[in-house]
């Protein structure tokens, strides 16, 4: 009945190829997904090792988590991270507080306010900022932010260790997470249904009223996603921060002009070691870092839910 010259042999071949290809695709997916598990297994495994009995130079988990000193130079060395955690969180939050409003306003400006000619320019600025690698930020921070901070400290009658300070870290991180939050905000603001905007304008709202009342409200969830991503970057940033942190050896830092120490800078210090406690303890910090990031994400989600009121979901 059919006139088409369809070969049954071809169809069998087609089927077999299909099966093989599917298997290969599945395998790739599995490999990619397995990585996170492997990271946990290997990093945590190595990190816990330090607290296990039988480990040479075994550390006490309680001291590690609650102490306020990091003195690998002492004998026996003292490793404790509570103050580091506190410093990490203060710097990251400080950066977020500085950066978040600016990012959102910038994003709004770029998408909705800027004259058409300037829009591309500003977008490119943000994209370039996002593309700059962190070491370059580090060089910049070590060379100029530190100078700025030490001058500022001078005005307040304070002194700094060559500008390396908590404030420098905060400013550096603020600059670094700015493009992250901004570009996500741009995406979510730009993807707000144009009909909503038209709807608002048609109700006699002015442009700016529309932007602040309707656009930002609608883009909320994307903007918060940007914040979470930015904070993640602030927590995880290592090389640049190391260049301006100053690596304080004890106690949480509350003075903006005092040096500080974050989880990542700690992990990057004392690189010459390749075995022993001093080496393995970095894995423990890695675990702590991941836990901190996880908890912060949860906290932000909670905050978002409570201040969000009406949500998009």
């Amino acid at each position: 009945m059919r006139t088409l010259p369809i070969h049954p042999g071809y169809q069998r071949r087609k089927k077999i190829i299909d099966l093989i290809a599917r298997a290969i695709f599945l395998l790739a997916g599995l490999i990619a997904a397995a990585m996170i598990v492997l990271i946990f297994v290997f990093v945590a495994g190595r990190g816990i090792q330090v607290f296990m009995p039988g480990y040479e130079g075994r550390q006490d988990l309680g001291t590690f988590l609650t102490g306020m000193r990091w003195r690998p130079d002492l004998t026996p060395p003292v490793y404790s991270v509570l103050f580091i955690i506190i410093n990490t969180i203060t710097t990251a939050l400080g950066a977020a507080i500085l950066s978040f409003p600016l990012s959102v306003l910038t994003a709004l400006f770029i998408v909705k306010v800027a004259p058409k000619g300037l829009r591309v320019f500003f977008t490119t600025v943000v994209e370039i900022l996002a593309a700059i690698p962190s070491v370059v930020y580090g060089v910049f921070a070590a060379g100029s932010i530190t100078t700025l901070v030490s001058k500022l400290a001078g005005m307040f009658g304070q002194s700094t260790y060559g500008g390396s300070s908590m404030l420098a870290v905060i400013i550096l991180l603020a600059i670094m997470i700015f493009p992250t939050i901004t570009s996500l905000s741009i995406v979510s603001i730009a993807s707000v249904d144009r009909n909503l905007e038209l709807g608002s304008l048609a109700l006699g709202a002015s442009r700016m009223e529309t932007n602040f009342k309707v656009i930002l409200t609608s883009a909320k969830s994307g903007i918060f996603a940007g914040l979470i991503l930015g904070l993640g970057r602030a927590f995880g940033e290592a090389t640049a921060v190391t260049m301006v942190a100053g690596n304080k050896l004890f106690g949480p830092t509350f003075n903006l002009f005092d040096t500080t120490r974050t989880l990542t800078t700690t992990m990057l210090s004392g690189l010459s070691e390749t075995s022993g406690v001093d080496y393995d303890i970095r894995f423990s910090i890695g675990v702590v870092l991941m836990v901190v990031i996880l908890l912060t994400n949860l906290a932000i989600r909670l905050v978002k839910k409570s201040i969000g009121g009406v949500t998009n979901e």
Binding site: N195, S200, A202, G204, A205, S206, V214, T217, N312
Partner: protein, 301 residues
């Protein structure tokens, strides 16, 4: 009588001498009167604020950059009636609709000439505040577009933009608007639920309520039901029937059946031309123009 389709090149120039424009004018010899500059800027003396028409469009031409989207359109929109715009895709229906609340201002490269007056006032004049115009001329869009806020906030939005903060007043207006939009019964227990949780038809009614809250004179609707299923569509159509007692409604629709069902007047457009306008029953029963006939009976050429 209420729709002139012929191109009348005289309409823009003053047809009467300034001296004759009003019998109360006792000083025909004042220097202002004789200044030619003044004469050019004078409003058309024929415009009558008490006319039965809300809008009078005269020789409107609209260009998108080079593209001539509306050609010499002259049409009157009668008060408290439903006027439907029909025509094939791209004929300029939405474009004309957007002229009435100057939403075309938002599109770059739009050039307009000819005049549109709303109750006698030129809506393109410098004195007229666009934002105010838009509170007087509400608009409902093709896809329901409630703001991602609560139902209450959606309806109160326009009022709050006007600086009204008094909750008591807001509550009264919100209830009233929802009632008029036939949504009160369904929504009264969920006023603070997210508007996006409503069904498509309810969302569209919310959008109508939102426009009503500002007590507009006119409501523009651009294919308000094309995203809805037949039942939700029927609800909206019933609502329009109710609303026309209070408001003037202009509706663009792709569905000739819908235009037939709900409108009092129908205007048929083709490639930017207003081909025919008249009472809906006339247009659908004895259209005057062969092109209208062919279009509404679903055949072309």
């Amino acid at each position: 009588m209420d729709a002139r389709m012929t191109t009348d090149p005289m309409i823009e120039s003053p047809q009467t001498e300034p001296q004759a424009s009003s019998e109360l004018d006792v000083k025909p010899e004042t220097p202002e009167e004789t200044k030619p500059a003044k004469q050019v800027r004078m409003p058309d003396p024929k415009l009558d604020p008490n006319s039965p028409n809300v809008f009078e469009v005269r020789d409107l031409n609209l260009y998108y950059e080079k593209f001539h989207a509306l050609k010499n359109v002259t049409i009157d929109i009668p008060k408290n009636h439903v006027t439907a715009f029909i025509g094939p895709s791209g004929c300029g229906k939405s474009t004309l609709l957007r002229c009435f609340n100057r939403m075309n201002d938002l599109i770059d490269g739009v050039r307009i000439d000819g005049s549109i007056t709303m109750e006698g006032q030129d809506i393109h004049s410098k004195d007229l505040d666009v934002v105010n115009l838009r509170t007087e001329v509400g608009m409902v869009f093709q896809a329901p577009n409630p703001f991602p806020m609560s139902i209450f906030d959606n309806v109160a939005y326009g009022l709050r933009c006007q600086g009204i903060r008094d909750m008591k007043k807001l509550r009264v207006v919100v209830e009233d608007s929802l009632r008029k939009a036939a949504l009160w019964e369904e929504a009264k227990d969920h006023l603070h639920r997210n508007a996006l949780k409503l069904s498509g038809g309810q969302q569209q009614r919310l959008c109508i309520a939102r426009a009503i809250a500002l007590e507009p004179k006119v409501i523009l609707m651009d294919e308000p039901t094309s995203a809805l299923d037949p039942i939700a569509t029927a609800h909206i159509e019933d609502l329009i029937e109710e609303l026309k007692k209070l408001y003037t409604i202009i509706i663009v629709t792709h569905s000739m059946n819908q235009a037939a069902r709900i409108s009092d007047k129908t205007a048929f457009f083709l490639l930017g031309d207003l081909v025919e306008v008249g009472d809906t029953s006339e247009v659908f029963h004895v259209p005057r123009d062969k092109r209208t006939e062919d279009y509404i009976s679903g055949k072309f050429g």
